[in-house]
């Protein structure tokens, strides 16, 4: 009953989205058709975006939708569809695989939990009756940070953290160049190799 008493609309929606995310993630694990897996992954990531919206971060939520759901999973679905031969259309995991994955997954979960619980401000639930909404709802802070100025730390007193005032410009540029290299490399590797075919249309076998 006490649990139900603490249930308000935010918690309800959080529960819904969290269940969807985890449920579809479990669906990815347990389904044996690769296209179903891709579909469940899309829905899982979409529910994750819902979680972001609930947490008051619409920009990150929209980014999640655009990049993960819109981009990555479309690409994934593409590749899955085009290579969905008889070999891969039904994937079964051997029993040993389940054991290994449980162990590795469990270890990862333990690691994440311990890391998360070390953050002081996350340990205790917020007991204010009223939660302040985000003061500034623009993406100015984020954008300025990416271009090198941390406007949210303009009046930072601690000299140690003031060093982080330079923002995220360097990692941003590194990631951009990295992405460019990856794209160029992928385009190069996927280039069409045309084999000569005889005029009568008898195809020679493709090798390589």
């Amino acid at each position: 009953m006490m649990l139900l008493a603490t249930l308000d609309w935010y918690s309800l929606f959080f529960l819904l989205f969290a269940l969807l995310t985890c449920g579809f993630a479990v669906g990815v694990l347990f389904s044996d058709n690769i296209v179903h897996m891709a579909f469940y992954l899309t829905l899982s990531l979409g529910s994750c975006a819902g979680l972001f919206f609930l947490a008051g971060a619409p920009f990150v939520g929209a980014m999640q939708l655009m990049i993960y759901v819109g981009g990555t999973v479309v690409l994934l679905a593409f590749g899955v569809m085009l290579t969905a031969n008889a070999n891969f259309s039904s994937l079964r995991i051997p029993r040993g695989g389940w054991v290994v994955s449980l162990i590795v997954g469990g270890l990862l979960l333990v690691l994440l939990l311990t890391a998360a619980l070390r953050v002081e401000s996350w340990r205790t639930p917020r007991d204010e009756a009223v939660l302040p909404l985000a003061e500034v709802q623009t993406a100015t802070v984020l954008g300025a940070g990416l271009t090198g100025v941390r406007v949210d730390k303009l009046h930072e007193d601690d000299p140690v953290t003031r060093r982080g005032m330079s923002g995220y410009l360097l990692p941003f540029v590194i990631i951009s160049v990295h992405l460019l290299v990856v794209l160029v490399g992928a385009a190069y590797m996927a280039r069409t190799r045309i084999y000569r075919r005889s005029a009568s249309g008898n195809p020679r076998s493709r090798t390589g």
Partner: protein, 424 residues
């Protein structure tokens, strides 16, 4: 609307908000439904007249007003077929995914000043993100139909939509940096006043960007000349081959609603949205001012007229799309991608830089003739600022407090550090 329920009718906040959300969603579904009805009728009439024939002229009077209704009833009564090789769950689900994506984008689309379901500060970004999800329904539909033709159509569509998202986003960003905000309501409001304030007239580069944007949206919603996935004469009906009845009509409703959405977006970004060519309601004093926080009947009527104005512009955009469809032949898929990569992207990039330079160097622009506020576009505030000013006067709203409500409405300017030599 939620404030009306919570404040005037004294419903509890969750109930009031839910009720408001439900009503607004129903309104949008109604809008999409009526719009689809209207557009199908318009398409048939316009295509008929372009092709030197009448179009529907029997059902419902001389102009065939109820033709679409009759077609809808026919579609409803059709047998719900699924091919033997189809994956039934995905096959059944695909039209709804498409429609859901298209519908969700309306959540952030404003119809008048403040009339938006989910007031988001990054409304434009959200719409662009969700528009890209529509292709997922198409891919699913094509794959799950179990036929090579459908698969082909689905792959083509995915390639096309994903490629055109790039120049589309580039074009959509131009109004963003011209206005300094992604908030669609604010972008619309910054174009209030005389039509010279419209962003399409800001500089020649933005003018060209609008046309590139229009081309990209035509490609993005798969209309001719980019409508290969629906290419009837080549792949029968592409990914739609195996769909019939209500499921088919869902795909088409999704397409028409996307068309309306992107036309509406074009209207807001470039043509002032709900602000007409002439500021009639501003002149007679009915329209809301920025500083007002209370509701007024005359303000409501001004907003209503703005909504009608906005819808008229969106419908005009859709009409132009239809006009183009019935005139031009279809491009091949490699030509479609070529147009995107070799024409749209470089052109969008060049005009992006041009518009950026124009804005940064503050060159003269028709927008300066009759500025919307004495401070120009910068005087128009984003929605969240105005909302907090409104919230300051309301006590029964759960969850809003804090220093932000006392924040005055001033310019947010990043001033350089004056002390310590300006680190960082």
């Amino acid at each position: 609307m939620a404030e009306f329920f919570v404040d005037r009718l004294s419903l509890s906040a969750p109930v009031g908000y839910t009720l408001a959300a439900l009503i607004q969603c129903v309104l949008i579904v109604a809008l999409i439904g009526v719009a689809a009805l209207l557009f199908i009728w318009m398409e048939r009439k316009i295509s008929g007249r372009i092709q030197d024939r009448w179009g529907p002229n029997r059902v419902g009077g001389k102009f065939g007003w109820f033709q679409t209704l009759a077609d809808g009833m026919k579609l409803l009564t059709k047998e719900d077929l699924a091919p033997k090789d189809a994956q039934v769950i995905l096959f059944r689900l695909a039209p709804y995914v498409s429609f859901a994506a298209s519908f969700s984008a309306y959540l952030a689309l404003p119809f008048a000043d403040g009339w938006v379901i989910a007031p988001m500060t990054m409304g434009l970004f959200f719409i662009l993100a969700v528009l890209g999800l529509e292709v997922f329904g198409v891919i699913l539909g094509g794959y799950a139909s179990g036929s090579k033709w459908s698969l082909f159509g689905a792959i083509r569509q995915a390639a096309q939509v994903v490629s055109y998202e790039v120049p589309l986003a580039m074009c959509a960003v131009v109004p963003v940096f011209l206005c300094g905000t992604m908030d669609l309501v604010a972008i619309g409001e910054k174009q209030a006043g005389l039509f010279t304030n419209w962003l399409v007239f800001h500089d020649p580069f933005t003018f060209v960007i609008f046309w590139v944007y229009f081309t990209c949206t035509v490609a993005s919603v798969n209309r001719s000349p980019f409508d290969l996935p629906e290419a009837e004469s080549e792949l029968v009906a592409g990914f739609l081959t195996e769909y019939s009845g209500l499921r088919w009509s869902f795909f088409f409703m999704a397409e028409y609603s996307s068309m309306l959405l992107v036309s509406g977006l074009a209207a807001i970004l470039f043509f002032g949205g709900w602000n007409g060519p002439l500021p009639i309601f501003h002149c007679i004093g009915w329209a809301y001012q920025q500083s007002e926080t209370t509701w007024r009947l005359t303000g409501y009527l001004a907003n209503l007229a703005g909504c009608v104005n906005f819808l008229a512009k969106a419908v005009l955009g859709v009409t132009v799309m239809m006009w183009v469809r019935w005139t031009l032949p279809r491009l091949r898929i490699d030509q479609v991608i070529t147009v995107c990569l070799k024409y749209c992207v470089p052109l969008a990039a060049i005009c992006f830089v041009g518009a950026l330079m124009w804005q940064t160097l503050a060159w003269p622009s028709p927008n300066d003739l009759v500025p919307v506020t004495p401070a120009g576009k910068a005087g128009v505030r984003e929605q969240w600022v105005l909302q907090q000013a409104k919230n300051a006067g309301r006590e029964n709203l759960v969850g809003v407090s804090g220093p932000a409500t006392d924040m005055p409405v001033t310019d947010i300017v990043v001033r350089p550090l004056e002390q310590e030599g300006g680190e960082g």
